[in-house]
């Protein structure tokens, strides 16, 4: 560990070769998928041809972003146990997706989760409101990913930031534009396998230094940095903050549009259920690996070297890869991290494009009257639009602190998307006005409160003290969204929606008439 020298930031041949192989293979898949992507069902939902197991891997691929791989490994490397608290929050949302959302969503929806929210309510107001929730979640998430991609690639490959953002944008656009959901799904699957394989190998190489026993590694870490690395530390400064963040993490997962959209790619509710089981298993396994990787970096690379390269510790996993596997393995893990970003932004872009074309253009602007070929064309144009937006925002936010945007995306998802979706599935008396009021309240409060919070008001706008005390608004914005949704619904009766709720029970519970 003494004077650990890294080649990070220099041109790494292995990394470039592996990355180009990934791009070549994924573009070949896109070419194959393009031939099968002509109808709306093919473009948005891979013609519902994805199996439960494949979708489970793809869901895991969508969820395991480079931010969670590098970020959580880094947090564990620098702070120890606190990183695990984050992982637990990210994982525990999945059982809730399964118990509450996955099957009714699959049975009632067609291409987007707004299909389900608007199912028995008035289409136009609900679609407009839920598109607002959906698009703001996607855009904040995209900004965080694009800026992360630019900075990561600058460190990894020595490429200029702008070039990196444009390359990521163009490759990702071509997956979605030509190959639609089928190509996007296979890119996710390949990336998930590479990431899980790479992380497993990294863990094995690390543990081989500790007699294959993780306990030896952990004891060594405690001996070096003190017992505090094995217990909760600075994660909680304010208990309410911890609760609010917890809500955003677990309920946000159940409201992420690009995750929810994946449930329409499987043939039925049974496969939807299976895909959550598979995804939860892989994601949980991945977080356990990340925990070991973090401790490995702490011991084998050391705090000083990790924080010396990046204050947040984001390079910990890569430094560990170099330390246990040399330059070639560093190149491999770096290429995998790059591929990970590509896959995640592709998933986000596809779901943003479907919101624009399916929810806004067809259901609101064309009042549901649109022909197949026309809608696919619009969806492709929407893809170009969202892709261009992602590149532009990536360039605008260069050098900005955007880490809070992932938290913001999760808060909006938990406050705007999740309450309306859950109430529309479970509650007979939910009304159009209730839904619109709930979504507007949730999204509006989440955005306003985060601007007034210490994360933005103090850290970014450099004010002395924050107007809203918590770093994460979900506790308030989510509760308010539920309350407003319920109160407004109780005051506005909607007979038709109540009749449809009973009528469609065969579809919700038995899948009869599902798309």
């Amino acid at each position: 560990m003494e004077n650990f020298q890294t080649t990070l930031g220099q041109v790494n041949i292995a990394s470039i070769v592996i990355f180009f192989m990934f791009v070549a293979i994924s573009l070949f898949i896109t070419y194959w998928a393009a031939k099968k992507t002509k109808t709306t069902s093919e473009f948005y939902a891979a013609d519902r041809s994805i199996s439960g197991f494949q979708n489970g891997l793809a869901l895991a691929g969508d969820y395991m972003s480079a931010a969670s791989f590098l970020g959580i490994a880094g947090m564990v490397a620098l702070k120890g146990y606190d990183g695990l608290i984050y992982s637990i929050g990210f994982l525990v949302g999945w059982p809730l997706v399964m118990f509450l959302i996955a099957e009714p969503l699959r049975n009632l929806g067609k291409f987007t989760f707004a299909d389900v929210v608007a199912f028995r309510l008035k289409q136009r107001p609900v679609r407009i409101a839920s598109s607002f929730g959906s698009l703001s979640t996607i855009i904040f998430y995209l900004i965080a990913q694009m800026v992360g991609a630019g900075s990561l690639i600058t460190i990894l490959f020595g490429l200029p930031y702008e070039v990196a953002v444009i390359v990521v944008g163009l490759v990702m656009i071509s997956y979605v534009l030509f190959g639609g959901m089928l190509a996007t799904t296979w890119v996710q699957i390949i990336k998930a396998v590479l990431l899980l394989g790479g992380a497993t190998f990294l863990v094995i190489m690390t543990l081989s230094r500790f007699g294959m026993n993780p306990l030896n590694l952990i004891e060594k870490a405690a001996a070096m940095y003190g017992d505090k690395v094995l217990a909760p530390g600075g994660f909680v400064t304010n208990p309410w903050d911890a609760i609010s963040l917890g809500i955003a993490l677990i309920l946000g997962t159940a409201g992420l549009p690009h995750i929810l959209m994946r449930f329409f790619t499987v043939p039925n509710a049974k496969q939807a259920r299976k895909s959550v089981f598979i995804a939860t298993g892989f994601i949980g396994y991945f977080y356990i690996l990340t925990f070991v990787i973090g401790f490995g970096a702490m011991v084998l690379v050391g705090h000083e070297a990790i924080a010396g390269i990046d204050k947040g510790g984001n390079m910990a996993a890569l430094l560990l890869a170099e330390s246990v596997g040399g330059q070639f393995f560093l190149g491999f893990i770096a290429a995998v991290a790059f591929a990970t970003i590509l896959a995640v932004v592709a998933g986000l872009t596809l779901s943003g494009a479907s919101t624009l074309s399916h929810d806004l253009y067809v259901s609101v602007f064309k009042k549901g009257k649109s022909d197949e070929a026309g809608e696919v064309k619009v969806a492709r144009m929407a893809t170009l639009l969202i892709g261009a937006l992602a590149i532009t925002l990536g360039l605008i936010f260069k050098g900005q602190n955007v880490a809070f945007m992932v938290g913001l995306a999760f808060s909006i998802a938990a406050s705007a998307n999740f309450p309306s979706l859950l109430l529309s599935i479970l509650w007979k008396r939910f009304t159009t006005r209730g839904a619109v009021a709930s979504i507007v309240t949730g999204a509006g409060l989440a955005i306003t409160l985060i601007i007034l919070s210490p994360t933005v008001w103090v850290d970014i706008f450099k004010n002395e003290s924050a107007i809203f005390p918590l770093k994460n608004p979900a506790l308030f914005s989510m509760s308010a969204a539920f309350l407003v949704g319920i109160i407004v619904s109780l005051f506005t009766k909607e007979e038709e929606a109540m009749i449809k709720f009973e009528d469609e029970k065969l579809r919700t519970y038995l899948g009869i008439g599902a798309e």
């Binding site: 146990y81 695990l84 608290i85 992982s87 637990i88 929050g89 994982l91 525990v92 999945w94 059982p95 809730l96 399964m98 118990f99 509450l100 099957e103 306990l215 952990i218 004891e219 405690a222 001996a223 017992d227 094995l230 217990a231 909760p232 994660f235 909680v236 208990p239 911890a242 609760i243 917890g246 677990i250 049974k270 259920r273 299976k274 959550v276 089981f277 939860t280 298993g281 949980g284 977080y287 356990i288 925990f291 479970l426 038709e496 009749i499 449809k500 009973e502 009528d503 029970k505 065969l506 519970y509 038995l510 899948g511 009869i512």
Partner: protein, 104 residues
Amino acid sequence: MSTKSDKAQEIVNSEKFKKLVKKRLSVSLTLTAVVLFVYFGFILTVAFYKDLLAYKIGEHLTIGLPIGIGIILFAWLLTGLYTYWANHSYDKSVREFRDQILKK
């Protein structure tokens, strides 16, 4: 909007179907409550009694570590439990109802 056959209507109103819906909701909501209880129990412990998680069970090892990893495994096992219930019990009833409606 109701384009369903009388048969379908009859099933929606039948006690047996209502019982199935109720059963499903109670399984989903119970499991949800268990997950929320375990997770927020953990977060509240982190927030208010974090010394409990620092309790040593080895030379350096704390109890917080197996508990943390345990919650991840537990969450996954619950999804497995639900899948098992749904595949074996729920889907069987679903198939019976579907046969009644679709095969006339």
